[in-house]
């Protein structure tokens, strides 16, 4: 019940109100849509969404197969870590690093490609740059879900196939692929719906320019509602949010349907490659992939710990020389108020999410109120822009803007929806014999007394993932906060580390050291947490507690 009340108040009601707002001020809406190139924005959204979801799924799938095909378990784990590293970096830090990696002859990426210009500055190449960064950030989670699913294929199937003389490539493409088809489709659909509401990456890298070439619907909601000089712009922004919600409904409903299905038909591909050649290809593929995924992170640390003059040379200096910690220390000092807000919000809102979602997910797994699951998955797959304007108005009206409470009240929504899904998957694995035994012995509060203690691994893993998600959050803090924590009581000011990192792009000129140091400060705490949670997931469903599919 608490869960249901919460998602009604913070999810369904704001979602419906968005449409109501959009219906008001129709003349303003018409004006906004005459002034903004709405068809270009919708086209950008689809290009960005399809490219990101297809590429991230494909590369994630190939990475999962490649790593699973390695016989050495320790090596598997190490390479899996390396593939997951971008997941540990908040989007704002990632965008910071890529923005300096693209800097013409001074950026390592453009230098390696022989580009003498920053691709984000040209309307013909800006979208490719934004898609590249988005794919970079999406590959890890695609890999993680598909890899977990591959790991859950019974070992005997693989052993028998290989003993029967099948090549590894045949096993993966003919047998394993159809078995994990549901995971692949889920990954694609999740990637699709999340990319549909894309905001962070285009906002940070290009602001939607040049000339709207990277403006997506998600970004348009923010730009029109909160950055436009047009009066009554909230109606125009609400309308963009409504369009986005309608478009997102179709993949969201498909996603819910696929989630409920036992299996999803997936083609079996007849690919037969000699094992040695396959492992050779695996080595080359993983080498390129790991370089692509991890070099930007290495460069982030490199730039953070040296003088800015060394960042502004051509060819770029890629080895650690001239090390200094002064910029890191300066960024650390300046980040303290933001860090405090982030810690408070990132610890409290996931706890609330778990407390709301766990009992609800248990009930759903036992067949009660099962309709809440598809409703929750639908809400989860909608972009946050579909809710934010009414939430903003509500928070403003109760004078909680720019406070921790604004974030603590609103941010558990996505956490609770995500936790419901994860915990539901876990509880469905839990043998019903526990319930039967509890009933037999007349144990009251069996959820608290039996299920919760048994679920400790899953709860802990879910909590870690939610903390990471809250740490990374940008859009909600950007809309609901104005200033950093002011060390007063009652606490005022709630800007988080993701906004602190954002300030570095706006305010720092060619001092890339300070910019990179801000990115490191923002990323470092959650990198450690992410590594712990990734280990738990990679170790397997029971000991890690997480089952995605």
């Amino acid at each position: 019940m608490p869960y249901f009340i919460y998602i009604i108040l913070l999810g369904i009601v704001p979602f419906a109100t968005t449409f109501l707002l959009a219906g008001v001020g129709i003349r303003s809406i018409i004006l906004v849509y005459k002034l903004y190139p709405i068809y270009q924005i919708i086209a950008n959204t689809f290009i960005y969404t399809i490219a990101t979801s297809v590429l991230a799924t494909l590369i994630g799938l190939l990475a999962a197969i490649a790593i699973d095909s390695i016989n050495n378990k320790t090596l598997q784990l190490i390479i899996a870590f390396l593939v997951m590293l971008p997941y540990t970096i908040p989007f704002t830090s990632a965008a910071l690093i890529w923005s300096i990696s693209f800097y013409g002859p001074y950026g390592w990426f453009t230098y390696l490609l022989g580009l003498k210009y920053d691709p984000l500055l040209l309307s013909s190449t800006a979208m490719q740059g934004v898609i590249l960064v988005s794919v970079w950030g999406s590959i890890p989670i695609s890999f993680l879900i598909i890899f977990s699913s591959l790991k859950s294929v019974p070992k005997e199937i693989k052993e028998n196939a290989l003993m029967d003389g099948m090549k590894k490539s045949e096993y993966y493409f003919k047998i394993a692929l159809p078995l994990i088809g549901k995971a692949i489709l889920i990954v694609f659909l999740l990637g699709f719906v999340f990319s549909l509401g894309a905001f962070d990456t285009p906002y940070i890298l290009t602001g939607g320019g040049p000339l709207f070439s990277t403006t997506t619907l998600g970004l348009a909601v923010y730009t029109i509602s909160f950055k436009s000089s047009l009066r009554a712009a909230l109606s125009g922004g609400a309308f963009a949010a409504a369009i986005l919600a309608i478009i997102a409904t179709i993949p969201a409903l498909i996603y819910v349907k696929v989630l409920k299905a036992q299996r999803v038909p997936f083609p079996s591909l007849n690919i037969r490659i000699n094992d040695k050649i396959m492992m050779g290809l695996v080595a080359v593929f993983l080498g390129i992939l790991i370089f692509f995924l991890d070099f930007p992170i290495y460069y982030m640390f490199l730039a953070a710990f040296r003088s800015p003059e060394m960042d502004f040379t051509t060819p770029p200096i890629l080895i650690p020389i001239g090390i200094t910690s002064s910029y890191f220390i300066q960024a650390l000092k300046e980040s303290i108020p933001y860090l405090i807000s982030t810690v408070v919000v990132s610890l409290i809102s996931p706890i609330i999410s778990i407390l709301l979602a766990s009992p609800a997910s248990y009930e759903i797994s036992r067949g009660k109120n099962s309709w809440i699951l598809p409703l929750s998955m639908y809400l989860y797959s909608l972009p946050v822009m579909a809710f934010i304007i009414p939430i903003y108005i509500f928070i403003a009206k109760i004078n909680l803007l720019n406070t921790w409470w604004a974030l603590i009240i609103t941010m558990p929504l996505y956490g609770a929806l995500y936790a419901l899904w994860l915990m539901y998957n876990y509880f469905t694995l839990l043998p019903k014999s526990y319930d039967e035994t509890a009933e037999l012995f007349g144990i009251k509060n069996k959820f608290l007394k039996i299920m919760m203690p048994l679920s400790r691994p899953a709860l802990f893993s879910t909590l870690l993932l939610l903390i990471i998600g809250a740490w990374h959050a940008l859009f909600v803090p950007l809309v609901l906060t104005e200033t950093p924590y002011n060390f007063s009581f009652p606490p005022k000011g709630a800007q988080t580390l993701s906004i602190f990192a954002l300030l570095a792009i706006g305010d720092v000129s060619i001092n890339w050291s300070l910019l990179a140091a801000s990115a490191v400060v923002t990323a470092l705490p959650v990198m450690i947490l992410s590594l712990i949670s990734i280990t738990r997931v990679l170790k397997g469903a029971y000991s890690g507690g997480i089952k995605f599919i």
């Binding site: 004006l31 001074y106 500055l121 013909s124 000089s229 004078n399 803007l401 104005e482 009652p490 305010d507």
Partner: protein
């Protein structure tokens, strides 16, 4: 571990979590209650102040006002620092009944934060800052200040006219809704170590036959000659730096600085209106055949020649595709001594490394004008501390306070600084240059229509950037495309 122990641990954990949640809810409720109590409006005894337009002293007595706190909201930067470190302590000392709370946010977030607060009808801010470009957003939410006791005649006139007044269609009157806060001007800054060097002066004169003194330059061709001289003689790596960044919309203020010369010197377009067509600005002239909006000057010879000149200026600095010059990086770049000077906002002087800025002097743009970049403070119509807010504004613009500012808005303060021989000569000369430039500070887009329709700026900046970066090479074609987009947007807006 025994089952009993496990159960008790689980129960304790759960109990702890529940206690934490209860505490959080309790604190949240208390905070809401506490912050709502602070919003109890204070009724004030009507002020009996009489105002004298020539007076430089504030005349309202704060003892007539009950103890209260006014909130000033602005973006972070030099102006906020001046308020925080200087003005507010002085004001609170003089008026102990009134406390001033300053809230700042980064520039990139300020306008959206203020806009949404207004749209929500919030009374959390008493005084807000706005720029001439954002005036259109703010005016409807500000109180008229015509009878506030502020000495307007002492304020820099040109800058004040660029956003301080709002034509209220309901009353049919021009209302003063903002008081000048910052008087930044886009001017020419030059390195006196180079320009006062007699050998360099002589070499330049021998080659180009006019003086190297920027004060004497009458057009942009002379600036280009100076660029060519410094670069070809390897005196500096680049010419005068000028902003050319697209992502920060820096082109939006750099281009009009060049454009204005061509506008002013084309009587067909300007028609003698030095500050542009009223309500529309310098990019418009005459009357459009549709009758709904004027003709657009961008694709006339004025706009095209300005674009060509702007590109030539940009050719003497790093390519905008590799290192765009922007408001953010210009101070650092100037400090690297790679150019003879720059076109910059005078308020940026404090951001330039001191070992270089101590040699920098100012001059008006070639032709003797400047581009204004004023900021204003207005009183929110939702404010519950109007009289106290008016008192603060009176105090802020008084000469005795303005003399302490690096960007004063009071003419008397300027004159006092210029005549103070204890201030280093070059600094006084900068103030003098700013005061002179302010008298012909018309080269701005101002509060005209382009600032009201956000996409117009996008089309202009992106179109110009495509030309600067050789994505399009025909300047007439570029301006025709921009003009057509503007026409489409204006037709939509006025339909």
């Amino acid at each position: 571990m025994s089952k009993k122990y496990k159960d008790s641990v689980s129960m304790k954990l759960l109990s702890s979590i529940i206690v934490v949640i209860i505490i959080i809810i309790g604190v949240a409720v208390f905070s809401i209650y506490y912050s709502n109590r602070q919003k109890i409006s204070t009724t004030t005894i009507p002020s009996t102040s009489t105002t004298n337009a020539a007076s430089t002293q504030t005349t309202t007595s704060s003892t007539a006002l009950s103890p209260q706190t006014i909130t000033v909201f602005m973006y972070s930067g030099g102006g906020a620092n001046f308020l925080n470190s200087t003005v507010i302590p002085m004001f609170e000392k003089q008026y102990p009944n009134i406390k001033v709370k300053l809230i700042t946010v980064p520039y990139s977030q300020y306008f959206s934060a203020a806009s949404t607060a207004f749209q929500a009808g919030s009374s959390q801010y008493d005084i807000v800052l706005y720029t001439h470009g954002s005036a259109y957003q703010f005016w409807p939410y500000l109180l008229p200040l015509n009878n506030s006791g502020i000495n307007v005649s002492d304020l820099l006139t040109g800058a004040m006219a660029d956003g301080g007044y709002y034509y209220n269609p309901t009353t049919g009157k021009n209302e003063m809704v903002g008081v000048l806060f910052g008087s930044s001007f886009y001017i020419l800054a030059y390195n006196t170590k180079l320009f006062n060097n007699t050998q360099i002066q002589q070499e330049f004169y021998n080659e180009y036959h006019f003086s190297l003194n920027p004060w004497t330059w009458k057009n942009w061709t002379q600036v280009l000659d100076a660029d060519q001289f410094f670069v070809s003689h390897n005196i500096t790596k680049y010419g005068f730096l000028i902003a050319d960044s697209e992502s920060g919309n820096d082109i939006d203020y750099a281009f009009p600085a060049v454009y204005y010369w061509y506008y002013e010197n084309n009587i067909t377009v300007s028609n003698g209106l030095l500050s542009g067509l009223p309500g529309w600005g310098i990019y418009f002239y005459g009357i459009n055949s549709s009758g709904k909006f004027p003709k657009i000057a961008l694709n006339s010879s004025v706009g095209v020649q300005a674009l060509i000149t702007y590109k030539e200026l940009v050719s003497y600095e790093p390519s905008p595709l590799q290192l765009p010059i922007s408001y953010d990086n210009l101070p650092d770049l100037i400090g690297q001594n790679i150019s003879p000077g720059a076109f910059m906002w005078n308020s940026q002087i404090d951001a330039i490394p001191k070992n270089y800025s101590k040699y920098l002097a100012f001059a008006p743009l070639p032709g003797g004008y400047a581009e204004p970049g004023p900021t204003f403070l207005g009183i929110s119509k939702f404010s519950t501390h109007v009289q106290a807010a008016e008192l603060f504004l009176q105090f802020l613009v008084s000469p005795q306070v303005q003399v302490l500012s690096s960007v004063p808005v009071s003419k008397m303060a300027f004159n006092e600084i210029i005549s103070n021989s204890s201030i280093p000569y070059l600094i006084r000369e900068r103030y003098n240059a700013t005061l002179i430039a302010s008298q012909k500070a018309y080269a701005g887009v101002g509060t005209g229509v382009p600032s009201q329709i956000p996409t117009l700026t996008t089309y202009l900046v992106d179109g110009i950037f495509s030309y600067l970066t050789n994505q399009t090479t025909n300047p007439q074609e570029v301006m025709n495309t921009i003009t057509q987009k503007w026409i489409n947007a204006l037709q939509a807006y006025y339909s």
